[in-house]
Structure formats: C-alpha cells, structure tokens
Amino acid sequence: MKRRNAGWVLFFLAPSAIPLLLFTAVPMVSSAWVSLHRWNLISPMEWVGLDNYTHLLSDPATRDVFLHTLIYCAGYLPLVFAGGLGLALLLNQRLPARAFFRAAYFLPVVTSWVVVALVWKWLLNPTSGLVNSLLGALGAPQPGWWTDPTWALPAVILASAWKDLGFVMVIMLAGLQAIAQDILEAARTDGAGAWQRFWRVTLPLLSPSTFFVVVISLINGFQVFDQVYVMTAGGPSGASQVVVGQIYDLTFRYGRAGEASALSWILFAVILVITALQVRGQRRWVHYA
C-alpha cells in the first residue's frame, strides 16, 4: 500500500474503528485491569493480583451460575434449533400467505427483550396466566413457573426459544434455498423417499447453516441476561441466576466490580474455548457444497 493512501484508509475506517476502540477495546482492557483490583466503584481501587480469580474459582456460587447457564443452553439450543428448522422447512413450501408467516415468525426477533419477557411473565403467571388456565382446563398440572425454583429456568428457556425461533428460521431458510434443486432431483430419480432425501441430502447440505446457528446460539446462550433479569431476577432463591446476572449483581448490587470483571473474563475464556472447539470439530460434520 502506498504511504499516501494510508491516511485515506484510516479516514474511511474511522467511523467503525473509533466506536469499536471506544466501546469494545477500551472497556475490555480496563475490565482486565479492574479484575486485578478490589473496587466498590466508589472508593479508590486496591491491587489484589489474581485473588479475584482464585476466589471465584473456589466459590460455589460461581459453579451454580455456570451450571444454570449450561442447563439454559442445553434446554434452549435443541428447542430453538428444532423449532427453527421445522418452521424453515414448512415455510419453504409453497403455502398461501407464506411471506406473511415468515414476517410474523421473525417479528419476536426484532422485538425488545423487556417487552417479550414481560409478556411471557404474564402468560406464565402461575395463578392468573393464560398458559396455566389452559393447562387447568385440560386437567394438566399447573407449574409455578417463574415463582418455583424448579420451573424458573424452563420458563426462561421457553420464552427465549420462542423469541429466537424466527432468527434460526431465517438462517435455515437461506440455507434451504441455497441447496441446488438438481441434487434433490437426482436423489428422487435414484428412488430416495422424502425422509431419505431430508436425512441424507438436505440436512448434510444445511450443515454450514446449522454450524453457524449452533455457534451463535451458544455464544448468545452463555450471555443470557435480559430475559432472566426481567422474568425472575435470578430467583427464586438464586435458582435461575446465570453468569451475566451474577456479573450484574456483583457490580451493581454488591459493589464488587473487581470480582465482576474477573467473572467476565472467565466467561470470555469459556466461550472462547467452546467456540474454538466447535470450529475445530466442524471439519467432521460440516459439508461445504
């Protein structure tokens, strides 16, 4: 690159580079610095080295919040993936009002989490909610949902899967439409049935989209916060407290910003490792046509 062009390159990069530097790079570096201190946000910081990390790693609360986050991911990912794929297959057919349904299922994705969580909180209200009224009418048991420690996480999972269905659907629809019709035609000519065509042709050829959805959903899943904060605030009795919720509470409820920053970095490391493993593992099952 010619030297006199460098100035122009910087000039055109600036609109995205400056916010990235200011709102991502600077906070990251400063949170790493904060994580080595004891700091209540108000008094001066006090150097503690790696104490925050060693304390967090031996604290049962850390284990609990990671466990809850894992349970969340384990419930959310299959639901959102199966649901999104099912919708994509359905809306890939020639149906009346197909465009309307595609838009309708995508609507929750662009809706604010606070609104969605409040609506679900109302739907899942144990005494007066629509879901329990229906269950009651059917004679089924009526769970306590967000008021019951056993059901609080499932309630959050249900709302989250519902909201993100449309996102998975759109990615999968794009993947489905990228599959060349002649491959499916060839399979049909060879006598493959509908199930075989789906299982042996469509699904393997969708694997790049599947890979993308799994990676993104897991990264999002580990960072789940908004819906938990609105629906359960981590309760009852901490039964639905997740990692980012704990980071929030440590900082803004308890004034332990150093530990919160350390926990952020632990979460970052966990997500990095999981994503790296997925990228490495993709060679075995992702087929780029």
Partner: protein, 418 residues
Amino acid sequence: MRSFVRRGAAPLVAGLVLALAACSQGSATRTEEPAAGKSTVRYMNFSANDGHEKDLDAIKAAFEKANPDITVQIETLPYADYFTKLQTAVAGGTAGDAFELNYENFVTYTANGSLAELPGVDAAPYKPSLLDAFKADGKQYGLPASFSNVVLFYNKDHFTAAGVAAPTASWTWADEQAAAAKLTDKAKGVWGDYQPISFFEFYKTLAQSGGEFLAPDKKSATFNSDAGRKAAQFLVSKAGRTMPTEAQGAGTPDFDSKLFKDGKLAMWHSGIWMFSGLADATFDWDVVVEPGDTTKASAMFTNGAVVSAASKNKEAAQKWVTFLTSSDEMVQTRLSTSWELPPVADTGKVSSYLTAGKPANRQAVFDSLDATVLPPVIERQQEMQDAVTKELSAAAAGRKDVPTALADAQKAVDALLK
C-alpha cells in the same frame, strides 16, 4: 441478529463502568443551568415514590419560598431500583448534591467516603436516637428525615365473620398462629396471615424470641441459636399453611398489598407507610402492635438525608436537607398525608397524627416505639440481606430444613464480616 451485537458486549458490563464515569455530564441527570445568583440543589430520593411525590413537592415549594436563591430539583426513584442507581450515580459523579439513604445503607456510604460531613447541625429539633443513627466516628454525616415502623394490619370483617376475637397489643405468636389457622380458607382464596420470609422479618422475630443477630463486636453472626431457629421456624411454618407460598406468588412486588386490598388476607405484617394506600379500602381494617414471643420488638426504619462529598453546592444542599428534615412545613405535610413520621423531638408536634383518619388505632404506631429493634448493619449490607433471605426462602420452600438453612446463612454472613 441485532441483539447479538449488543449482547456481545455484555460480559464487559463492568468495564463499561469506566465509560459511565466518562459520561459524568450525562444529559439525563444534568443539573439545569441556574439563573445568575441562584444555585440549584439536586435531591435524589425513594420515599416519595408511589404516592407521595406531591407531598415532597409541597415541602420543596415551601423551602424555595423561604430560600429564593436556591432551586431544588427532585428525582424520585422506586425503592427497588434506588440503591443500584445511586451507587452507579455516585461512582459516575452524577449523584445529586443531596440524596436520601436508609439507615441500613448509611454505613456503606460513610465507609466509602461519599458523604460530606455536616457542620454546625442544630440538634434541638431532632429525636436524639435518630440523630445519632446518622453519625459516624462522632461526626454528623446525615440528618434523619423520617421514621416508620411495622405493625399488624388486620381485616376486621374476616375476624367478625369467623368469630375470632380481634388482635390486641398483648398477643403472642401463639395467638397469631391460632387465629391465622382459623381465618385461612383456601377454598375461598382467603389467607389468615402474611409476613414476608426475609432478612427484615427475621432479625425482628429473632429479637422477639430474645436472640441477637450479631455479636457485640459485630465481627461474627450469632443468629444460629435456639432463639434464631425458633424465629425462623415461626416464619417458615406459615408458608403454605396460613400464608401463600413463593410458588403461589408470595415475595413478588405488591403481591401482599394487593392481597390485603382485595380482601383476601386477614392479617398482614406491614409498614405504616401503607396507611394512605388503604384509605379507599371497602372493608373495615385496623392495626395493632405486632405480636411478640418472649418479648415485644417492633421493626423501626429510619431514612436520612445526606449531602454528597462531590457536591459543588454543599452549603445550599445542607440548607435543603435541614429544611427537609426539621421544618414545621415538613412536619405538617408528613402528618396530614399519613406519610412516614417526622423525626422531631417535640412529641406535641405529632399529636395530630393520631386523629388523621384510618386506621382508628394509630396509637399503636407510637406504642410500638416502646420496644423497637433496628436492622443489623454491616458494610456489605446488601449481600447480607440477600444471603439471609435466600436461605430462609429455601427453608420455606422445603428445600432445606430450618437448622441447615440457618447454619448456612450464618456461615454466609460470617464470610461477609471477614
């Protein structure tokens, strides 16, 4: 996915605090430019929220009339968000020149150096015990703004219908339990009793059964005792029997006040700040001093007004908090609106409270003051409150037995005291 971009930064929430600090002139909380020769005092509070905003405005108007060179700018926030917001605002340098603190959080804020010492306070108007509550190391860092206590509310109609004698000041836990059992009618959705299973009810019932929450040196917790187990058992045993459980909605905001207002609750342990909200109740209700066990002990809460160490208008801010906590206009406003009580030494000034309307037995509010218990306070207050509440709710939901829950709670509080 739009939220992906946003959530991508979520683990760095703590780092963003620095960015918040950089926004110390954030527009949402900016002080309006005062006119020449006038100064503006920003005041943050929670106790006017949800019904008393106009009453605080009346005090502000009276102050501004008496001090034409000072303008007061009031920010009222819900209690549930107040301390989170306040901490962030103090850290970011956007806190008001003056703000409200409850007694429980006063220690945390004096310890972190965010309060200005108030010079030359005239002690005469204040109840001495309340004034002392806002001292640290012998210096005055805040002025008591109000106090309130908790009494037993009861729905007279339920008592009459069930043929149960109304509560009296001499009731004990056993009387309360027996009445609650008779008044509970689950088929009709009517509950006999409601008392939150929380830190705040626990330290009080502990005092009622003769226990101590902290050792005298405040270096260790002492509530895992016979008295403590008895108190915890008393609270926990209500859940599901005479009181709704967590799974039935107990513990969610406004659950209990709604239940009582709907006429579905016979007895309710709650604060006198609820009086004005119940003015339009369609049933007959009254209050009585809370039942005790081996002794009587009523919860007393006090809120104070403090001046921020970072304020550029300390003198004007102190004038405002002094007026807010000791003026006759404040006393009149608080009494006529059944707000929390004014912290005044002169009991003659508060006598009109007794005849200010429902409930009839307002004398119970003052009788409760004969034996009060203040919340135990430590530097890591919020964590202690959360830890104790969490263990007690686990016991109430049957996930732990009471002795285990109390032992675990004591261990958690001891760790916070290290």
